[in-house]
């Protein structure tokens, strides 16, 4: 069963890049089973279709706006992962939700979607995470590895 771990965000805008930084850290610190693919999605939209199609489980790591305190780490699952869409002016607004909806329509949507999100502290133009969000990296990776263990594809810490 294919598992995809997708980190999305813009690494030029501090905490916006948490998803990308997290998948990099994940690969540095853990050995992953062969059926687990890690994707740095950057800020793309429809380009992600082939990576996500046919995955049984999808674990997304992203900055989220859920009205929580800045720096909060949240876990959303299934229907909690937003699936609504807006009047769009630009393809930048074609986000993960649209990709998932397109997959549901065309076939091959992941059976299960979990989103590990961090409410950002800073979206300033910078290539580093804010100290408060950087301090949450261990917690983010802990949630991801718990998820992998729960679906029977556990990660092993590198020594």
């Amino acid at each position: 069963m294919r598992v995809v771990i997708l980190g999305i965000g813009n690494i030029l805008m501090s905490d916006e890049g948490i998803g990308v930084h997290a998948v990099e850290a994940l690969q540095q610190r853990f050995l992953l089973p062969d059926n687990v693919e890690v994707v740095d999605g950057g800020t793309t939209g429809m380009e992600l279709l082939p990576d996500l199609q046919g995955a049984h489980d999808l674990i997304v790591i992203d900055a989220v706006r859920v009205g929580a305190a800045p720096g909060s780490v949240v876990r959303l699952e299934g229907e909690e992962v937003p699936a609504f869409f807006k009047t769009k002016l630009s393809p930048h607004q074609v986000g993960l939700c649209d990709v998932l909806a397109a997959l549901r329509f065309s076939g091959g949507a992941p059976e299960r979607v979990v989103l590990i999100g961090v409410q950002p502290v800073s979206l300033e133009m910078a290539m580093e995470l804010s100290p408060d969000v950087a301090a949450k990296m261990d917690r983010v990776l802990e949630l991801v590895t718990e998820e992998l263990a729960a679906i029977g594809s556990p990660a092993r810490a590198r020594v």
């Binding site: 793309t44 959303l76 002016l89 930048h92 649209d98 397109a102 329509f105 989103l115």
Partner: protein, 569 residues
């Protein structure tokens, strides 16, 4: 009564494009295009090694990663007067071609088709008639009765489950929707097939670029793919043959599906050939270089004044001073300030110092600057490129355009003049024409690469050497959305200034130094708006430009926001 409509999908911390229009007597009489986020991206590369800049600037934008990478390496190569080996040119050209094809297909089917296609109406179609109609237009393999019936069933399930998803915000039943149910069903079928096909284009980019969405194989001086005829780990003949297979699938879809669908939409909405012309000074740049010095190209570019093709003046090389001397940017209506006060600045002298006010109708109202070509705004994009191609006598452009015009004329029963292209629907037609041209370029570059490798040339890289002192360069690229230029100043081997003048800056620009109106704002004037609460017509025109502000923020947002605001004036 006059009404002010604000379309602002994004609020608070995110920021993209906001469009405001005043509507009086059912038509737009004033428009504002506003970029809602500061793009200080240039400042991130200051002081860095010019060889690394492209890896950073390709993260500027989530939709056009490849194009910024390309313009960036060209900018540094131009500063160094560094030649690029032929193999590297061909590989880069193929990456750009495949990226453009991907972009154009996704733009039409997945972003803008729903402005014209009523998905819910497709439920009422007779699948047999839809198949009959589709088969009369082309011999595309995905047009059978069986396919149409299957798509309609899927759509029923999808709509029935309440998961309209991507279609939630469609303007179903809007009075401006005019396609018969069978055409709507055909379009939905092709929407799904396009989802399949776009991945071949993406796969070509990934195979040549070593990774996608962010390619990894570029280098100042060439590409980092070693070419080998025997090793498996590098770019081999076997991989190139795989690319050929994917190319063929794309070619059939572009010719038999995409171009035909655009012609059909154009024929049913021929009134839109009279709407949305806007700025008719057109600017494009040559691309797909086929020599090491970037003086010979597969596709031409230049400038056309007032929509008159006889005024065409070509840009002959990347070093042509006609282009580099002509560009300047004003911040009179943008949230920046220049140290010298009023007046536009050339990008090499460009400054990015924010000076935010609030949204002022007659003052500053955008984070986008106003670029000009010799003092005037210009329209960039596939339409500019196609018109320049016709003016230059570029055969592939002319033949794809003639086929498009013939198909539309045949379907609508009236012969359309080339001037119909100066319009909202004309931009879609030009994009489909350009997609065909770019596909031919992809084939030609593939062939040229194979032949060059067969001659025993496996060079892909010339090493850059940075001198002491200051040098300046500009990197040009005819990107999917039009002219892209990256301007760099390099001092003692480090970046001292960097400015990216992106296509959407040309197009979404606020008013300039002399109050001249930019392409988005100009094209919206006189657009009819039937229902201010559902301003579909405004979206049609804005979408026809394929808008893309280079400022991708992809926060997952759980808070639903009102998108369209209407207030009486």
């Amino acid at each position: 009564m006059a009404t002010r409509i604000t379309i602002d999908p994004i609020t608070r911390i995110e920021g993209h494009l906001r469009v405001d229009v005043n509507v009086e007597n059912g038509k737009v009489n004033r428009a504002w295009s506003s970029g809602q986020m500061w793009r200080g991206i240039e400042q991130i590369v200051l002081g860095r090694d010019p060889r690394d800049a492209w890896t950073i600037v390709q993260r500027i934008c989530g939709v056009c990663t490849t194009v910024h990478a390309m313009a960036s390496v060209r900018s540094v190569e131009d500063a160094l007067k560094l030649e690029v080996p032929l193999n590297a040119q061909y590989i880069r050209n193929m990456i750009m071609n495949a990226h453009s094809i991907h972009d154009h297909i996704v733009h039409f089917y997945h972003l803008s088709a729903l402005d014209w296609v009523d998905v819910v109406s497709a439920l009422k179609a007779d699948p047999a008639k839809a198949a009959q109609l589709a088969e009369s237009l082309s011999d595309w393999e995905g047009n059978s009765r069986h396919v149409m019936a299957d798509v309609q069933n899927r759509l029923k399930t999808f709509v029935g489950s309440g998961q309209l998803g991507v279609f939630t915000n469609g303007y179903w039943g809007h009075p401006a929707m005019k396609l018969p149910p069978e055409v709507n069903l055909m379009a939905v079928a092709h929407y799904l097939q396009a989802l399949e096909v776009q991945r071949y284009a993406n796969k070509i980019v990934a195979t040549l670029g070593s990774k996608t969405p962010h390619i990894q194989n570029l280098a100042v001086g060439g590409v980092s793919n070693p070419i080998s005829t025997d090793s498996q780990s590098v770019l081999t003949v076997e991989r190139l043959l795989l690319i050929k297979e994917m190319m063929d699938k794309l070619g059939s879809f572009i010719r038999n599906c995409y171009q035909v669908d655009v012609a059909a939409v154009g024929a049913f909405y021929s009134d839109w050939t009279a709407i949305g012309a806007g700025v008719t000074d057109y600017l494009s740049v040559p691309d797909m270089p086929i020599d090491t010095k970037c003086t010979k190209f597969m596709t031409p570019g230049g400038f056309i004044k007032g929509g008159d093709l006889s005024t065409y003046k070509p840009i002959t090389s990347y070093a042509d001073s006609y282009f580099r001397d002509g560009v300047a940017e004003s911040v009179k209506h943008s949230w920046y300030k220049y140290s010298a006060g009023a007046g536009a600045l050339h990008p090499w002298k460009g400054e990015t110092t924010p000076a935010y006010t609030d949204f002022q109708d007659d003052g500053k109202y955008s984070w986008v600057k106003s670029p000009t070509f010799y003092g005037k705004p210009a329209q960039v994009g596939p339409l500019a490129n196609v018109l320049c191609g016709v003016a230059a006598g570029h055969q592939p452009t002319i033949s794809h355009l003639n086929r498009m015009i013939d198909t539309v004329s045949q379907l609508s029963g009236t012969k359309l003049p080339i001037s119909a292209l100066h319009s909202t629907i004309g931009r879609h037609a030009a994009r489909a024409v350009r997609c065909g041209v770019v596909y031919e370029s992809l084939q030609a570059n593939w062939q040229a690469l194979m032949e060059n490798i067969a001659k025993g040339d496996v060079a892909t890289f010339n090493k850059p050497v940075f001198p002491k002192g200051e040098i300046m360069g500009v990197g040009l690229h005819e990107a999917p959305r039009g002219v892209l230029s990256h301007w760099s100043v390099i001092k003692d081997g480090k970046i001292a200034n960097y400015q990216a003048v992106v296509p959407t800056t040309w197009l979404a620009a606020p008013r300039g130094e002399d109050e001249a109106v930019g392409p988005y704002e100009a094209s919206l004037l006189n657009t009819p708006v039937a229902d201010p609460e559902r301003p579909l017509e405004v979206l049609r025109t804005v979408h026809s430009f394929d808008p893309c502000l280079a400022c991708a923020v992809h926060l997952t947002d759980k808070e639903n926001k009102t998108v369209v605001q209407v207030k009486a004036l």
